[in-house]
Symmetry: C2
Subunit: 301 residues, 2 copies
C-alpha cells in the first residue's frame, strides 16, 4: 500500500465522485477506478458504494478514511521534522518561473509547500524563459517551471507537469452568453487585447498559429497590455476580447464574469514544463519536484 493511495482515497471520499477526483488530481478516471479497486482488493472489503450520481463511503470506507487521514497527518509531521533537520544547503530553494506560471499556478503552490515545511526559505524568481534557463545553468535557480517548450539544452531535465489550453477570453454578456467556441475570424472582428510583444503569450501564439500560417503580429491587437490582471478587467467590462491560458482566468471563470471559448482550428494545448539540471539537486529541490509533480498540487490560487 502506498501513501499516495491514501491521498487519492481521501480525495474521492471528500468529493464523492471518481470523475471529480480525477479532475482534481489531474489523472484519468480509469486510474482512480483502478486504484480504488486495488485498495478494495488489498483490504478484502468494499470501500465505496457506486451510485449513478457518484460514490458514497461504505462503513469500512469510513473507517479507512479516518485512518488514512491520521496516517497522512503523521507522515506530513515526519516530513516537516526531517526538513528541519536538513543542513543549510537543504533549507533554501530558489524556484524560477515565467510571469504567467509564477503569477498564477506556482504562486499558490509555493504557499502550500511553505505551509508544509515552514523551516524552508523559498525564493520565487520571475523572468522570461531565456533568462530562466540561463539562471538554471548558472545555478542561480534550483529549478523552474515554464510554459514553453525547452529544447536542445543538454544537461537539463524537462518534465511535463501540467497541460493548459489557450482559450479566447470574452465578457459574459448578452453577446457571448451560451457560446462555447469561436472562430479566429470572428474573434478578430472584436477589439483584441493581448499581452505585449515578447511575452510568453507571444511565443505560445506564434506556435499555435503556425499551422494556419499566421503569426502573433498578424492578429494586429488593438491594445497590448503587459499586465494580465489589467487585461482581465478590461474584458470583464466589455472593452474587448483576449486570448490567454485557461489557468490565468480560472478564478474569474468561477465567478462567471468572463467566458473561456475554444478557438476553432487552433490546437490549444500548452505544456507546463518543469526544468532542472539533472545533477546537483539538493534534497529540498527533489522534494519540491515531488510535490509539484504529485497529482493535484499545481492549482491556481
Amino acid at each position: 500500500m502506498q501513501l499516495g493511495q491514501f491521498d487519492l482515497f481521501c480525495q474521492v471520499a471528500r468529493v464523492k465522485s471518481f470523475s471529480k477526483a480525477a479532475k482534481l488530481l489531474h489523472i484519468s478516471q480509469p486510474a482512480i477506478s483502478a486504484q480504488i479497486h486495488s485498495m478494495e482488493e488489498f483490504y478484502g472489503i468494499k470501500l465505496f458504494e457506486r451510485t449513478p450520481h457518484g460514490v458514497t463511503l461504505t462503513p469500512a470506507g469510513t473507517v479507512l478514511f479516518d485512518y488514512a487521514k491520521q496516517i497522512l497527518e503523521l507522515h506530513e509531521d515526519l516530513e516537516r521534522k526531517l526538513t528541519g533537520m536538513a543542513d543549510e544547503k537543504n533549507q533554501k530553494l530558489v524556484v524560477g518561473a515565467t510571469p504567467t506560471v509564477g503569477g498564477h499556478a506556482l504562486a499558490c503552490g509555493i504557499w502550500t509547500f511553505k505551509d508544509k515545511y515552514p523551516d524552508l526559505q523559498i525564493n520565487l524568481e520571475i523572468d522570461n524563459p531565456q533568462e530562466i534557463v540561463t539562471k538554471i545553468y548558472d545555478k542561480d535557480v534550483d529549478l523552474a517551471i515554464v510554459e514553453c517548450p525547452v529544447r536542445n539544452f543538454k544537461g537539463l531535465t524537462v518534465k511535463n507537469v501540467f497541460t493548459d489550453e489557450l482559450v479566447a477570453i470574452v465578457p459574459n454578456n448578452a453577446h457571448w452568453a451560451g457560446r462555447t467556441t469561436v472562430t479566429l475570424d470572428e474573434l478578430l472582428k472584436n477589439r483584441l487585447i493581448l499581452r505585449e510583444e515578447g511575452s510568453e503569450l507571444h511565443l505560445l501564439l506564434d506556435e499555435a498559429l503556425r499551422p494556419l500560417n499566421l503569426r502573433f503580429a498578424d492578429l494586429k491587437p488593438s491594445t497590448s497590455i503587459s499586465s494580465a490582471s489589467a487585461i482581465k478587467t478590461a474584458v470583464e467590462n466589455g472593452h474587448g476580447v483576449s486570448i490567454g491560458l485557461r489557468l490565468t482566468v480560472q478564478k474569474e471563470l468561477r465567478h462567471g464574469n468572463i467566458l473561456a471559448l475554444t478557438i476553432e482550428n487552433v490546437d490549444p494545448r500548452v505544456e507546463y514544463n518543469l526544468v532542472y539540471r539533472d545533477d546537483d539537486l539538493t534534497g529540498v529541490a527533489k522534494r519540491f519536484i515531488r510535490f509539484i509533480t504529485s497529482p493535484g498540487e499545481l492549482e491556481v490560487c
Copy 2:
C-alpha cells in the same frame, strides 16, 4: 512512499545491517540497498551511516524510525478493524498444508496472522499433497502451502513463496564437528533414519536423487519414523543420521545440538508453493496470501 518500505527500514534499523535484514526479509542485499537509497532520495536526507561493520541510524533516521513505527502501528490497527467489519464469509479461513510445512513454517506464521486479526477463525488442515489439492478443488480449503511441485492442474495458481534445501542431519559430536559437506556414500555408511514411505520427504528425495539414478528406496534406511521430532531426537543423541529440510531443524541448529550438511552432488533446492483456485478467493484469503508472500513472514517457530 510505500508502507512496505517503512517495514523494510524498521528491520534494517533493528538489526543494524543491510545484509542481515536481507536474510530476514528473504530478499537480496542490493534490493535493501536500493530501497534505503530511494528513501534517502525521497526525504532528501541521509538515514544511515554506513560503516564496515554494518549501519547505524543518523539523527534523521532515528526520527523516521519513530514515525515509521507509529504509521505501521496505525495501519495494523486499521487492518484489524476492517477485518472485524467483514461479512461472515470473510471471517473464516481454511489453510491446507503438508505435515512438513504445516508443522514448522506455517504453524508459526498462522499464529502471527491470528495475532494481527484476532476476529478471524483459522483452521489449519494438514494432509498429504494429493489430498490437499483435492480439497482445494472441493473448496474445503481456501489455499494451501506444499513443498512439492504442483503441476498440470488447471484453474490453480501456484506461487513460489520460499526456497528451502535438503540437508543431511547429523549429530554435533566429535565425529561430525566442523564438517559442512558430506557425500551420499559416506552418509549411507551410517544408520540412516528417514521419514516413512509415502511421506513428502519420499517424493522430494525421489526428485532430488533422479539425476544420480537413485530412488528413495535405494537409500535403504535402517529406520523409518513418521514423526519428525522423533527423528531429530534420535539424531541429537547420536543414534543415526537423517535427511530433511533445513527449515524443520532450524531451531535445533540454533541450539547447536545437530549439524546440517550439504550433500555433495545433490541439488538441495526445494520450493514451497502457495496453491489456490484463482477464482472465488475471499478477502481474508487474499490478505493471507499477501501476508505469507510478504518478505520475512514465513518463519519457523
